[in-house]
């Protein structure tokens, strides 16, 4: 019979009190685990969404209004193409790819179309300054898939054009709606403002304004429209993690006279919810630190008062104060351990149950949180037990005796 055995036997002897003593800490840890589980899974879902969406940041002139991410660049005022260089020559990380665009409404015969000048990848790669700026290097450093992983695929068909490798001076890609209206086919031709373009590809239907667009080489479009080296927008593929880390504000510092928006409208609610949940879990953590400690402290204190006679007996037969501290702190550690595990289980099952209903996401357990739950719970329990243990050390060894 050692003091550890004594502590375990005492816990078992008063197990109903143990359950009530653990209630606050279990529920507190459960709430934190539940919120964290949902928010972490939600953050991953946001990250996947952003990755799948590809270009997710739009740089527009300051004056433009942004009602729709996909149409904001149409007929927008322009700004210099050199802004692209400002970004690539900065120390900014988390920029995967950039695509400067110039968009204007125009006519082909009697049909209205949207003409968008884009820069194919081959031209971006051919710009020595951009390469020197390390655009590709930055891609590899911050957004590259892990070794052996499959490269990201654009799940959204409307984003396929952003991966266009080559686009010769008078080649063009056209949206499906334009192709239908103009009754043209691949390898056919299209005349825009007296210039003849070869239709390299008809893009699949996307259900967006892109179906009404004709994509041609940016520099050809600039010459055709007489804008000079001006563009109406820059599409940027930013890493989801970099966006979360404030890529937008960094871009705003580099390009102060532009308006920078993000496709994050689509996921902004989710991002806001995640931020809110992170804040709530932090608040809960602080609350549980106080409430949990007070609750455990109150329980241990009640336990000490109930055990005054026992503690007196132990002191009488020769146990030192440090043995009394050991018994009570060990009890707190065991309670913390049990409370942490129970809290993790309660929180995880709550998240699995509530996640699909309230956050619309499938939740799976995050086992790392078990470690944090147990650690936090034990720390809370130890903090709570310090004062009662100290007071228990003051119990006189003759407390079990009757005074004359």
């Amino acid at each position: 019979m050692r003091l550890t055995d004594l502590t375990l036997k005492e816990l078992w002897h008063r197990k109903s009190q143990l359950v009530s003593g653990l209630l606050a800490i279990t529920l507190g840890i459960g709430v934190i685990v539940g919120i964290r589980t949902i928010s972490v899974v939600s953050e991953k879902a946001v990250a996947v969404n952003l990755d799948n969406l590809g270009a997710n940041i739009l740089v527009l002139p300051q004056a433009v209004s942004v009602d729709n991410y996909y149409t904001a660049d149409i007929d927008a005022p322009t700004f210099p193409e050199s802004y692209v260089e400002k970004v690539v020559t900065s120390t900014l990380s988390g920029v995967d790819n950039m695509s400067p665009k110039l968009t204007r409404r125009t006519k082909v015969g009697n049909e209205n179309i949207v003409l968008t000048g884009i820069l194919p990848k081959s031209e971006i790669a051919s710009k020595p300054l951009w390469q020197k700026g390390g655009l590709k290097g930055k891609v590899n450093a911050s957004c590259a898939p892990k070794p052996g992983a499959q490269p990201a695929k654009y799940l959204d068909a409307k984003l396929q054009r952003k991966g266009i490798e080559n686009l010769a001076g008078y080649d063009c890609f056209i949206g499906s709606a334009v192709a239908n209206r103009l009754k043209v086919k691949e390898n056919g031709t299209l005349t825009i403002q007296n210039k003849t373009f070869t239709i390299v590809k008809i893009l699949p239907e996307t259900g967006t304004v892109d179906d009404d667009r004709v994509f041609a080489n940016l520099h050809t479009v600039q010459a055709l429209l007489g804008t000079g080296e001006q563009i109406s927008a820059i599409e940027i593929m930013g890493c989801c993690s970099a966006i979360n880390d404030g890529l937008l504000s960094k871009l705003r510092n580099i390009l102060p006279d532009t308006r920078i928006t993000t496709i994050g409208q689509i996921v902004s609610t989710q991002i806001e919810n995640n931020r809110l949940m992170n804040k709530i879990s932090l608040i809960f953590l602080i609350i549980i630190l106080f409430v949990g400690s007070i609750s455990i402290g109150n329980y241990i204190w009640a336990n000490v008062n109930e055990r005054r006679k026992e503690i007196g007996i132990l002191r009488m037969i020769g146990y030192h104060k440090r043995h009394v501290y050991y018994i009570l702190v060990l009890k707190a550690v065991i309670m913390g351990l049990v409370g942490g595990i129970a809290g993790f289980i309660v929180g995880t099952f709550s998240a699995i149950w509530l996640g699909p209903q309230f956050a619309g996401i499938e939740v799976s357990p995050i086992y790392l949180l078990l470690l944090y739950s147990v650690a936090i719970s034990i720390i809370i329990s130890i903090i709570g037990s310090v004062i009662p243990a100290y007071m228990a050390g003051k119990i006189e060894p003759f407390s079990n005796m009757q005074e004359d």
Binding site: H320, E403, D404
Partner: protein, 230 residues
């Protein structure tokens, strides 16, 4: 001489003023003696027992145990003194309710030796000695008052003390059981040469003492020595 007490005073501060529970008491307790302390309630019997066991510090005076001045010991030294030299038997038995009879003894043995297997063997030997070999796994509530007191005596003997202090050990027992317990204490005194100091209200129990002390208002009122031990 095992214990020498000189000019011992223990004062309790109460709302109506200070009270001397022990008032300038001097006393010698020889090794191997059986001392009984009697007196009316409030005469200072238990206070004296607490001081003898290193459970309570006197306000002034001196208590010497085997040549060591206990007054000079700090709390940890007093705890070690109790575990090494003193066994306690209380009126209320002072057993831990959620430990079995054997475990109640093992927890006392653990203070000096943490070998679980050896402690278990020793606990069972002690329970056999007090006639409870078939009650080793019983909890206190499953034992009669007399059996609980025998477990308490076995625990008091766990660490082979030189001094056994008993506070009203028969106070909760009927006359038959009282004699049984007193007989065990007498046997401990005679066979183990353990010095026994027993506080009692019972004149019958007091007769077991080789030295009979009567306290009144914290002072030595009467002392009779029947057998010259040393």
């Amino acid at each position: 001489m095992l214990i020498q007490i000189k000019n011992l005073i223990k004062t309790y501060q109460r709302h109506d003023g200070a009270i001397n529970a022990i008032d300038n008491l001097s006393l010698d307790i020889p090794k191997g003696s059986f001392v009984t302390i009697t007196g009316v309630s409030g005469s200072g019997k238990t206070t004296l027992l607490l001081i003898l066991g290193g459970l309570l510090r006197p306000t002034s005076g001196k208590m010497v145990y085997n040549g060591n001045v206990l007054n000079l010991h700090n709390e940890d030294q007093l705890a070690s003194f109790r575990s090494n030299h003193v066994g306690f038997v209380m009126q209320s038995f002072a057993l831990i309710p959620y430990l079995t009879a054997a475990e109640n003894i093992m927890i006392a043995l653990n203070v000096k030796n943490s070998d679980r297997a050896k402690n278990r063997i020793r606990a069972i030997e002690l329970l056999e000695w007090v006639g409870l070999h078939d009650r080793t796994s019983h909890y206190p509530k499953e034992l009669s008052a007399g059996q609980q007191q025998r477990v308490a005596i076995a625990r008091a003997l766990a660490n082979d003390p030189d001094l056994l202090l008993a506070d009203e050990p028969t106070g909760n027992l009927d006359p038959g059981l009282s004699e049984e317990i007193l007989g065990i204490l007498k046997e401990i005194n005679q066979n183990h040469k353990t010095t026994v100091v027993m506080v009692t209200h019972s004149p019958m129990a007091a007769e077991y003492g080789s030295i009979k002390i009567k306290l009144e208002n914290g002072k030595l009122h009467d002392q009779q020595t029947h057998v010259n031990i040393e």
